[in-house]
């Protein structure tokens, strides 16, 4: 599938391959044996664990297209692909962003993804993904943390959170806690751990 993607890029061939990947390959998680893991280690290539087969294929397609398009066209190509994608297409794109050239150029797509009302898409960018930690400005990072608390995505899955905690973010979390208390509603258990910067304890508990 990936080898059919050539320069100059035929967007119809790419679009069909990208859209059909899940139907053709299925969404089973990729499982590597010890030898395969050893071979991958230290190559700097995509760590396959935690990704599904269709997702790995889609990310490979994205990496390949970056070699087939002029660099100045690539960010609009990615943003258009996001806009036209279904949930799983978007999920793969977001989880693949850090493997693509100059990831910072996709910042607006990544921030837009945090505005979704689909938990799968929100978690594709917010959870187990180093992108926000590396590239989000403070305001967008803070809003993402608040949204994770709001919709119940565990903070332990936010990569690098400990290093992005600021007094402003703690203030936002504290305000959210008092708002919940004033409404007579339970405070998410991540908030006190977060305020005391003790999410490590939670990680160990799980």
């Amino acid at each position: 599938m990936v080898s059919r993607i050539e320069s100059p890029l035929d967007r119809n061939i790419f679009g069909a391959a990208y859209a059909g990947a899940r139907r053709r390959l299925g969404g089973e998680p990729v499982v590597l044996d010890a030898e395969e893991q050893a071979a991958l280690k230290g190559t700097g290539l995509l760590s396959l664990s935690g990704h599904s087969l269709d997702e790995v294929c889609r990310i490979a397609l994205l990496v390949r297209t970056s070699e087939c398009l002029p660099p100045e066209d690539y960010s609009s190509f990615i943003s258009e692909l996001y806009i036209r994608g279904d949930n799983f297409e978007r999920q793969a794109l977001l989880r693949g962003l850090t493997y693509l050239p100059d990831p910072e150029q996709f910042l607006s797509t990544a921030i837009e993804a945090c505005r979704t009302s689909v938990q799968l898409i929100f978690e594709a960018i917010a959870c187990d993904n180093p992108y926000p930690f590396r590239y989000f400005p403070e305001l967008n990072y803070n809003q993402m943390v608040l949204k994770a608390l709001f919709i119940g995505s565990p903070l332990a899955r936010l990569v690098g959170l400990e290093e992005r905690i600021t007094p402003e973010l703690v203030r936002m979390a504290e305000d959210y806690a008092t708002e919940r208390q004033a409404a007579g509603r339970p405070v998410p258990e991540d908030i006190p751990l977060f305020i005391t910067n003790d999410l490590g304890a939670r990680n160990e508990a799980f």
Binding site: I83, R115, L139, L146, F150, M172, Y176, E179, A183, G184
Partner: protein, 290 residues
């Protein structure tokens, strides 16, 4: 008692809701333009949405004796799509003059970005120019700060506070709003925002002056009967009839009446009518009031 639901997204509701709402005593509604669960990718989609709020939705409501009004603007969430947002802003002057538009909104903050502030201030200025009230959404996240920033922006732009409705208030933001001359809306929701009993407690504490309630029912798990259900809760708590009527009728009428377009004299129901060839009926006998 006639009821007013001043914030409900009927586009997302089936026609049977209109029938049941009318049966529950709701006789006027305001439908703010908002986001549709996923971002729109063309300015033209907004224009068609505005046209449906001014056309098909008004017709559908009228078929059940409900007076339908709307508020138009780009919403805070989609304010962050720069290519779309400016195009929608450019459309507004052509639409704000239309019959049935009783305010500019929903505007306000979502993530509280600079882009949102711009797309909040510009429609505010348009509302001044068109002498309309504004409906201001307050954010789900970092709500207190977002409410304070909204009130501050209203002051900075010099917009008359008595023409501002700050919506989705809770225990912490309501006192902030009542310190100003703005009106305070409350969305009664099944699980988030505000519920019936908490609302009763707020009215017992703060009275009914400038207090408004709505269902904010939309495409999510929400309930278009929250206004009548809150009326019931208010009666059960022993609130007097005058207070209840102030909250669910007099206040929204007074607030949106400032547009001078809130025409509540409705025509008799005539379900034999068609809208561009379409009926809301599916084989039922048309109701025709004399």
């Amino acid at each position: 008692m006639k009821l007013f639901d001043p914030h409900i997204h009927m586009t997302s509701r089936p026609t049977s809701d209109y029938q049941a709402m009318a049966d529950a005593g709701i006789s006027a509604i305001v439908e703010p333009s908002f986001w549709l669960g996923q971002p729109r990718t063309h300015v033209g989609t907004f224009e068609d949405y505005f046209l449906s709020l001014l056309g098909w939705e008004r017709f559908r409501a009228s078929q059940f004796g409900i007076s339908h009004f709307c508020t138009l603007s780009i919403n805070p969430k989609e304010a962050n799509s720069p290519s779309i947002a400016q195009g929608v802003l450019d459309l507004l002057p052509r639409y704000l003059e239309k019959d049935g538009v009783v305010a500019v909104g929903e505007i306000g903050f979502d993530d509280q970005t600079d882009a949102e502030e711009h797309l909040f201030a510009e429609p505010l200025k348009l509302a001044m120019e068109f002498e309309l009230p504004v409906l201001i959404h307050t954010p789900h996240r970092d709500k207190k700060r977002g409410t304070a920033r909204s009130l501050e922006l209203v002051r900075r732009v010099g917009f008359p506070e008595q023409r501002v409705l700050i919506d989705h208030n809770n225990e912490e933001t309501l006192p902030m709003v009542l310190e100003t001359n703005c009106w305070a809306g409350h969305s009664i929701y099944p699980d988030t925002k505000m519920d019936e009993l908490r609302m009763v407690a707020l009215i017992q504490t703060y009275g009914s002056d400038r207090i408004i309630i709505n269902s904010a029912a939309d495409w999510g798990v929400s309930d278009p009967f929250k206004v009548p259900k809150t009326v019931e809760a208010m009666y059960e708590a022993g609130l007097d009839e005058k207070t209840i009527q102030t909250v669910v009728w007099d206040n929204p009428v007074a607030f949106f009446g400032q547009s001078e377009r809130l025409d509540l004299d409705r025509d008799p129901i005539d379900q034999s009518q068609l809208w561009e060839g379409n009926s809301v009926l599916r084989g039922q006998e048309p109701v025709v009031e004399s």
